[in-house]
Symmetry: C2
Subunit: 653 residues, 2 copies
C-alpha cells in the first residue's frame, strides 16, 4: 500500500536469512544509503533475523541491488518511478532517481512474508510510479503544539506510504510556532514557550528531505492572526484592542492591517528570515477565513479601500495577497494559499489550495477544477479533512479528478492532494490515532491508479499497514490503553477496551460545539480520545448482521451471538471497576449496551421476543443513539436491523 | 515516592475542581512557572478536570500558593528543601529555592487522590529535604543511540522522583555521539550518523536545568576509544591498526596513546569545545577498563614509561589523568572518573565514581568508603547497575553508607549515587522498561531517610508511580504489547502476555555471552525484550504459594489455583497462533508451563499425586530451569516448593 501501477507475480521466493546483504550503485552516502540502513534495521526488527552485515556492503554486489541514475532535488518535477524484481536469489530495484529507489525499498519491505520456518520476499515484477506529484499531509501545530519527535515519526509514516509533501501549518490564533530572531516577541509572547527553534526546523527539513519529503511552511495571514498580534499589536486592524493568544477554537476577528506600510515591512522581514529555512519552492500564506469584521470596524481601512478603488474586503485581501506574492517572488518562492485567495485579480502564478466544498457553500468538487481551468496550479484537501473523524472509505472514495474531462494542460495543473490534520482536538498523545491509519488510504488515492478503488480490499491491506506503522514508533495503537489505564487509575481496562471498540469520537466537530467546550489546555485523554474512527468491532459486526439477516443459518447466528454475548457480559466486568469521576459517566452507556445485547441475543437464541421486550430494546437503542461523553455508538444501525429482524420474524403475539 | 522526611496527616480535603488556581511568589517566568504550567496540565490529565485557568494567575493569590526566596544555580550546594501544607481551601508550598518549590509540586501531584465523585488532595503537613545531594541516572548513548525525545522523557521521569543528576555517557567503542566542529570526523566517521548536534545538547541541558537536573557529560578516555580512533587513528597506541567502530559488546583494546603530544592537544581542543555546552562544574572522563594491552605492545610507550619512571600501566594512566585534570581545571571543571582513577598519586580534587565491587574483585562496598576516607568526593554506582536486570529490592537494599562509621567530613564527601543504564542490550524501544520503574526505588534510596526501607511498602508505592510515569510519555508499559504484536504479526497476543508476566530477561549479562551474540544492529524486539524484571505475576504467586504451604486453607488454595488454571489453559491459546520463526521457539516453554501447571493443579485439587506424575513434574521444572529464548522463568522456585509440598503431603503410595 499504496498499490503499485503494475505487478506480476512469479513463483520465486527470496529467503531472508542472516547472510542477506544490500549494495548500492552508485555507492552514495546520501538518501539511499540512509534508507538502506533503515531498511536493514526494520527488516531485522520485523523478522528477528540477526543480519551479519548491518550496513550496505561496498566490496561486492549484495543480494539486494539498488541502482539509480541521479540524486534528486525535491520538487514537483521529480521522478519517483522504480522497478522491483524479486527472484530466488536476488532482488533488484532500479530507478531514475534516488527517490524512486527509496520508494522501491518501501515496497520491498511491505512484501515481507513468512511461513512457519522462514521470512521471505515473494517473486514479483513491479513497475511503479505515482499518479500525482503532490501527495501531502498537513499538520497544524498551532492549536496544539507537536514536538519534533512527533513530526519525525509522522514523516517516517508518510514515507512508508510514499507521501512526499509535509505541509506545516505553523501559525494560527492559538500560537506562533517558529523562532524569529528578527521579531523575537513572536516566540516570547505568542507561543507559550512552545515553538521550534530555527535549528529544529532545519533538522526536520533535512530529515524530511532524506525521506524524499518536501516541507511547505504555512504562515497564515492576514486572518488567524491573534498570536502574531499578541506580540505585535501595532500590526492589527484595531487600535487599543487587547490582542491575546486564543485559547478556544473557531474563527476569530484579529486580522493584520493591510493598509499599513509596517505590516508589509514586518512580513517582508519575517518571510526573508523564515523562507531560507525551507528550501522548497512553495510557500503557503494561508489567506483563509478572514471575515473582515475588524476591517469593517476601522474607518481608516474603509477610507483606504475607497482611495484604492477596492470595493470589497475580498478586493482588499487580493491587494494584500498580491503584495505578498511580490515579496515571496523576490525570495524565489511561489505563493500558495487556501482557495479564498482565488479572486478575479489574483495572478495565476499562485497555487490554489482547494478546501471548501458543499459544506462551505460551494458546489460539489469545490474550487479544484475551476482553479485548474483558470490556469492555476491546484491541490485538493476538500474531502481529506481527517480531523472531521469520518470513516476511511469516505476519504478513499474522493478522487481529485473523478470523471471530469480535462485537457492535458488542465490535468497537469492538478498537482494532487493533502490530508489535513487540524489540531483543535488532538494532542501529541492522540494525534497519531487521528492521522493513521486513514491517511495511508488517502496516500493510496494519490499514488495508485484511479481504478484501484475496492474499499474492502483496501481495508484489509490497511489493517496490516496500520499495525506495521508501530515499527516506526507511531503511537496510534498503543496509546489507547495508556488513556484507559489513566482513566481507571490503573485498574483492569478490558471492559473499557471492549466498549472502545464499538464507540467512535463524535464527528464533524460536534465534539467541540462552537469551539468553546475545549480550550487548548483542556484534558484530551478522555474516553473519546481512546476511541478511533472505524471502530474495530463495528464493521465485522455490521457485516455479520447483514449475513445473518440474509441467511439466518447456524454459522451466521454464531457469529452475531459471539459479539452480543461479549457485550452483554461486559457490564459485569465494568461494574467491578472502582468508580471515579472519569469512569462514572460511562456507566449508563455500558449498562445499556449490555442490556440491549442480552435481550437481542435471547431473542435470536429463542427465536422469540415479546412486544414488551421489543419496546424496551427500542428504547435502549434510542438512548444509545444520543452522544455519550463525546462518543457515538458505531453499531446502532446494526442493532436496529437486528431488532427489526426479530420484530418481523420472532415476535410473540 | 520518594517518601518525605516528615509527614503529618490531617483530616482536611482540598477538592480539585475547575476553579483551582495557582500563584507564584515571586512571580517568576523561569523554572517554577514552567513547573506550575506542567503541574496544571498533568493535574488536568490525571483528573479530567477542565481547569478554567490554564496558567498561573498573577492578579491575586491562587488556591495553590508557591513561595520561594531565590533562584538556584544548580550544583551540589543547592538547597532542595520545601514544606507542603494542605488544608480544605488552600495548598502552600514554601521553599528556600525554586528547585525546592519544584520538588514540592511533584509531591503535591503524587498526593492526588479520588473517590467516586471527586479528586482531592488529602490534608498533610510535610517537611522534606534530600539525604544525598547527588541523585543520578547515567544513560549510555554510545552502545545504542538514544534520540533527544528519549532523553527528555527520561529527564521528566527523573524529576518526577526528584532525581537531580543526568550523567550522559556520550562516547564509547561503539560510537562518538557529540558533534564537534573542531574535529568533525568524530561525527562523520565515528557515529554512523547518530549523534547530538551542539544545539541539541544545549536544548537538553536547558530542558534538564528547567527540571532542576544537572547534566554531567562523560567522554570516556583513554580506553573505550575505538570510535574516536576510527576517526583519528593517529591518536592510537598502535600504528597501522585498523580502527573501526565496534559492533559487539565487551572490553576492547583500542586505547589513546598517552605518550603523544597530539593526544593532549586533541583532548584539550575537544574539551575546550565541549565543556562550555555543559554549565555544570563536573566533567566525567571515564578512565575505566583500560587493560593496557595495546600499551604493552607498543615499544615507544614502554620506553616512555621507563623515561618517566612510570612503573605500571596504572602509573601511566595516572600520568594521563593528571594531564587531563589540568586541562579541565583551566576550563573550570572538576574531573570525575570511574574508580580505576583512584591511584596513589591521583589528586583528591578528582571525584571517584565507585562502580566496582565484589563482582569485580573488590571487597564489599567497593571503593566508596575508601575514597571518602582518602579525601575524595565520591558517588556510588556499585549496586545500582540496572542493566544487570536484577529485581528492584536488590537495588533498594543497597545503602551508600550502611552502618559504616564516618566522620562528618568523610560523610559529606559521599555525595550520593547513580543508577547506570548501560545500553548494550537496549534500544529506544526498550530502554524505558529497563530504567523504570526500578530507578524510582533507587531515587527513594538517595532522597529519603535511611530508615525508609520496607521493601513491601516500597513495591506497593512503586506500582502506582510506575503507572503514573506513562503520563510523562514513558513507554515502559505500552511497548510490551508493541513487541508482542510485532512477534505475532498482529495476532491475538493474550497468550504471550500471560507468558511474559512470569518470564524475566536473563540477568547479569548472561543474555549476551562474551558480548558477541548481539551486535549493535541486532534485533531487540524479541520475547526477552517484552519481558521485564520483577515479572508481574511472579511475586503474587510466590506469596500465595508461601501462604498456602503455611496454611493450606480453601482461600489460599483458591488463590494458587487461580494462577495454575490460567497457566494450564494458556497453551491452548498459544497453540492457536499461526506460527512464525519468532513465535515457534516459545512453543516448548509455553507447553511445559501449561503441563506442569495442570499437573500441580490436579495434585492440589485432588490432594493426591502419583510418583510417576511427580517425576514428570520434576522433569518439567528441570526443563524450565534452563534459559529459553533469553528469558528465565520467574516462578521456578515457587513451583518447586509446591511440588515438594505435594510430595510430602499428597503422594500416593
Amino acid at each position: 500500500m499504496p498499490w503499485p501501477k503494475e505487478i506480476k507475480e512469479n513463483p520465486a521466493k527470496f529467503i531472508i536469512n542472516s547472510d542477506v546483504t544490500i549494495s548500492l550503485s552508485p555507492n552514495n552516502r546520501g538518501r539511499v544509503r540512509n534508507a538502506a540502513v533503515n531498511f536493514l534495521r526494520r527488516l531485522s526488527t520485523r523478522t528477528g533475523v540477526f543480519l551479519g552485515e548491518g550496513f550496505p556492503i561496498t566490496n561486492k554486489e549484495g543480494h539486494i541491488k539498488i541502482t539509480f541514475d541521479t540524486v534528486s532535488k525535491l520538487g514537483i518535477e521529480n521522478d519517483e518511478s522504480y522497478t522491483l524484481d524479486i527472484n530466488d536469489t536476488s532482488v533488484n530495484i532500479k530507478a531514475k532517481t534516488d527517490i524512486g529507489a527509496i520508494r522501491g525499498l518501501e515496497t520491498l519491505l511491505q512484501l515481507t512474508h513468512n511461513n512457519e520456518t522462514n521470512y521471505f520476499f515473494p517473486g514479483v515484477n513491479i513497475i511503479d510510479n505515482p499518479r500525482f506529484v503532490w501527495r501531502g499531509l498537513m499538520i497544524d501545530v498551532a492549536r496544539h503544539f507537536q514536538p519534533v519527535n512527533v513530526i519525525k515519526r509522522n514523516l517516517r509514516a508518510m514515507a512508508s506510504v510514499k507521501m512526499n509533501v509535509f505541509h506545516w501549518h505553523l501559525t494560527d490564533d492559538q500560537g506562533f510556532r517558529i523562532e524569529s530572531k528578527v521579531y523575537p516577541k513572536l516566540q516570547e509572547l505568542a507561543s507559550d514557550g512552545l515553538y521550534y527553534t530555527q535549528e529544529q526546523i532545519k533538522d526536520i527539513v533535512t530529515y524530511a528531505d532524506n525521506l524524499g519529503i518536501r516541507v511547505i511552511p504555512e504562515l497564515d495571514v492576514p486572518g488567524h492572526a491573534s498570536a502574531i498580534l499578541a506580540a505585535y499589536p501595532e500590526l492589527g486592524s484595531k487600535d487599543n484592542y487587547n490582542y491575546t493568544i486564543e485559547r478556544n477554537s473557531g474563527v476569530f476577528d484579529p486580522t493584520l492591517n493591510p493598509t499599513k506600510i509596517i505590516t508589509y515591512e514586518f512580513l517582508e522581514n519575517l518571510f526573508s528570515e523564515i523562507a531560507p529555512l525551507f528550501p522548497d519552492d512553495y510557500f503557503h500564506i494561508g489567506g483563509d477565513e478572514n471575515e473582515g469584521k475588524h476591517w469593517n470596524e476601522n474607518k481608516d481601512i474603509q477610507r483606504f479601500k475607497n482611495q484604492h478603488g477596492l470595493k470589497t474586503n475580498h478586493d482588499l485581501q487580493t491587494y494584500f495577497n498580491i503584495k505578498l506574492e511580490k515579496i515571496l517572488s523576490k525570495l524565489g518562492k511561489t505563493l500558495m494559499g487556501w482557495d479564498e485567495i482565488m479572486t478575479p485579480n489574483m495572478p495565476t502564478s499562485a497555487v490554489i489550495h482547494s478546501w471548501r466544498g458543499e459544506n462551505e457553500g460551494l458546489t460539489k468538487g469545490g474550487s479544484l477544477i475551476k482553479a485548474a481551468k483558470k490556469g492555476y496550479q491546484t491541490v485538493l484537501s476538500n474531502g481529506y479533512y481527517i480531523d472531521r473523524m469520518l470513516p476511511v472509505e469516505h476519504h478513499y472514495n474522493v478522487d481529485p479528478i473523478g470523471n471530469v474531462q480535462l485537457t492535458k494542460a488542465e490535468q497537469s495543473r492538478i498537482l494532487g492532494g493533502e490530508a489535513t490534520m487540524w489540531s483543535e482536538l488532538v494532542t501529541q498523545q492522540t494525534i497519531d490515532s487521528r492521522i493513521w491509519p486513514r491517511t495511508a488510504a488517502i496516500a493510496e488515492r494519490f499514488w495508485s491508479p484511479q481504478a484501484i478503488n475496492d474499499v474492502n480490499a483496501m481495508k484489509k491491506r490497511l489493517a496490516t499497514v496500520s499495525f506495521q506503522l508501530e515499527e516506526l514508533g507511531l503511537t496510534h495503537i498503543k496509546n489507547r490503553d495508556v488513556i484507559l489505564r489513566n482513566m481507571t487509575n490503573n485498574q483492569d481496562i478490558s471492559s473499557l477496551i471492549t466498549l472502545s471498540k464499538i464507540c467512535e469520537p463524535l464527528k464533524i466537530y460536534a465534539r467541540n460545539k462552537d469551539g468553546i467546550e475545549y480550550k487548548t489546555y483542556s484534558p484530551f485523554n478522555l474516553f473519546a480520545d481512546a476511541c478511533v474512527v472505524n471502530a474495530e468491532d463495528a464493521q465485522p459486526f455490521i457485516n455479520q448482521v447483514s449475513n445473518y439477516i440474509k441467511n439466518p443459518n447456524k454459522a451466521h447466528e454464531a457469529e452475531v451471538m459471539h459479539y452480543l454475548n461479549k457485550w452483554s457480559k461486559n457490564y459485569t466486568h465494568f461494574s467491578k471497576l472502582q468508580k471515579n469521576p472519569k469512569i462514572s459517566p460511562l456507566e449508563k452507556l455500558s449498562k445499556t449496551i449490555s442490556d440491549v445485547s442480552l435481550m437481542l441475543s435471547k431473542a435470536i437464541k429463542n427465536k422469540n421476543i415479546s412486544t414488551k421486550n421489543l419496546n424496551i430494546i427500542k428504547d435502549h437503542i434510542k438512548v444509545l443513539s444520543n452522544p455519550f461523553v463525546d462518543v457515538e455508538v458505531a453499531i446502532i444501525e446494526a442493532l436496529t436491523r437486528l431488532t427489526h429482524y426479530s420484530e418481523s420474524n420472532n415476535l410473540q403475539n
